[in-house]
């Protein structure tokens, strides 16, 4: 499998990331994991949305595997983001949580995907299409959540840390982004493969019944 090469690239990332980090106030280093996690969270959400569209409207049944995989990864990376964020915020802002646009919309998106996983697990047959519908609606919802919360709480300034980072910080950041992206792609493919294998098991059982 071509995955092997990717895996080996992902593994040593831990070593290299640590020494590169600039000592700009210790806790800011959380950012190196927080931001890529957030990006992967959103990417997973988008993948889930696109795959849902393909499942429902382009009638590609195997797209369902990708929706499930992406949704699970969205929950995983969403959890990373929503845990590392407050840990950083505790030091940077003095509070664990605020109800500003970005945090609230991220939390809502996270909840939508948790709901998706619950639906797939406990909803019984037919929940693949339902889940896809949920994921699609979730995607459509994001701009609304963002706009509404933006006007709801004008408390904290947006958390958008300046992209004009000094190079010393830029390198480890992009390194981490690359590492996270690789990790995401690999995990997505593996997870989709799991779904595909599960479908094969079902097909095998069905064939057995017919035989």
């Amino acid at each position: 499998m071509a995955l092997a090469a990717g895996m080996f690239a992902v593994a040593p990332w831990m070593i290299d990331a640590a020494p590169y980090e600039a000592t700009m106030g210790l806790v800011y280093k959380i950012y190196f994991f927080h931001m890529p996690s957030a990006w992967m969270f959103l990417t997973a959400a988008i993948v889930a949305g696109v795959a849902s569209f393909r499942l429902l409207f382009l009638k590609r049944p195997r797209a369902d595997h990708w929706v499930t995989a992406a949704a699970e990864l969205a929950v995983v990376f969403g959890a990373f983001t929503l845990v590392t964020g407050p840990l950083w915020a505790r030091k940077a802002w003095g509070v664990w949580w605020v109800w500003d646009a970005r945090l609230t919309s991220s939390l809502m998106l996270f909840m939508i995907f948790v709901a998706y996983l619950l639906l797939r697990k406990y909803g019984g047959p037919g929940s693949d299409k339902l889940g896809a519908g949920l994921a699609l609606f979730g995607m459509a919802n994001v701009p609304f959540i963002y706009v509404s919360v933006n006007y709801w709480r004008t408390f904290h300034p947006p958390t958008s840390v300046v992209p004009t980072l000094p190079v010393a910080m830029g390198i480890p950041l992009w390194y981490c982004v690359t590492a996270f992206t690789l990790l995401f792609v690999i995990l997505l493919r593996l997870r989709a493969r799991l779904e595909h294998q599960r479908a094969r098991v079902e097909a095998l059982y069905l064939a057995e019944d017919e035989a």
């Binding site: 429902l56 639906l119 406990y122 909803g123 609606f137 459509a140």
Partner: protein, 227 residues
């Protein structure tokens, strides 16, 4: 009347006829909504005076809770008599079925809100009568948005397991913008000096939400219900 409207009318009439006979869903949902309002009022009133903006929040939470209940019960009725499958088998435009169910739910929730809003006005001295028109628009738009998503999800879940708890799990995160907009708009109207501009902003957001989500639901209803 063209075919679409006729089907919508049939569905609404059917639901109305069934409901009018027993008034089961209406009366129980109404009482539930009133109970929710009272429960929250007890919890959130300190020293005889409510916290700021609490009236608006309570109203919308009550709408959300009772709406979820009404949705679940309405479609449970369909499932119980297996009428949904009959509906789907009929040579009817799927989106028309959706609109028919949606109108039925809106009617039901509208009646409940007709009781809730004056109750809130009574309990919290909120300017319900003075702000009647803007309130009507806000509550109407919010309920439409909530019901649009809710009807789709409830219909989707009819054949699913654990549907009772899955409906709120799916519905509440999705309707967060509706809740935020509804509460903030209503709160703006309930202020000592009502802020019409702010209320109008939230109303327009609700309208945009309604348009997007009704269209999206109409679009998704067909592929999601085919099985």
């Amino acid at each position: 009347m063209n075919a679409f409207a006729r089907i919508v009318w049939f569905v609404v009439k059917k639901d109305l006829t069934v409901e009018v006979r027993s008034l089961e869903i209406l009366s129980t949902t109404m009482f539930f909504a009133v109970t929710v309002v009272l429960m929250f009022s007890f919890g959130l009133v300190v020293d005889g005076r409510p916290l700021n903006d609490v009236a608006a929040a309570i109203l919308w939470v009550a709408i959300a809770f009772s709406g979820t209940l009404a949705l679940g019960r309405t479609f449970e009725r369909e499932r119980h008599n297996d009428t949904l499958r009959a509906l789907l088998l009929a040579p009817a435009d799927r989106p028309a079925l959706y609109v028919g169910k949606l109108l039925g739910i809106l009617l039901l929730l509208g009646l409940v809100e007709l009781v809730l809003v004056p109750l809130i006005g009574l309990l919290f001295n909120a300017p319900v009568i003075e702000q009647a028109v803007p309130l009507l628009l806000l509550v109407g738009a919010g309920t439409l948005g909530f019901a649009a998503v809710g009807t789709l999800f409830a219909a989707m879940l009819v054949r699913a397991r654990s549907r009772d708890v899955l409906l709120p799990i799916m519905l509440y995160p999705m309707t967060v913008p509706v809740m935020i907009a509804g509460v903030r708009g209503t709160a703006a109207l309930f202020q000592p000096t009502p802020d019409a501009a702010v209320a109008q902003f939230w109303l327009s957001l609700l309208a945009a939400f309604d348009v997007v989500f009704v269209i999206l639901a109409l679009w998704t209803f067909e592929p999601v219900m085919t099985d």
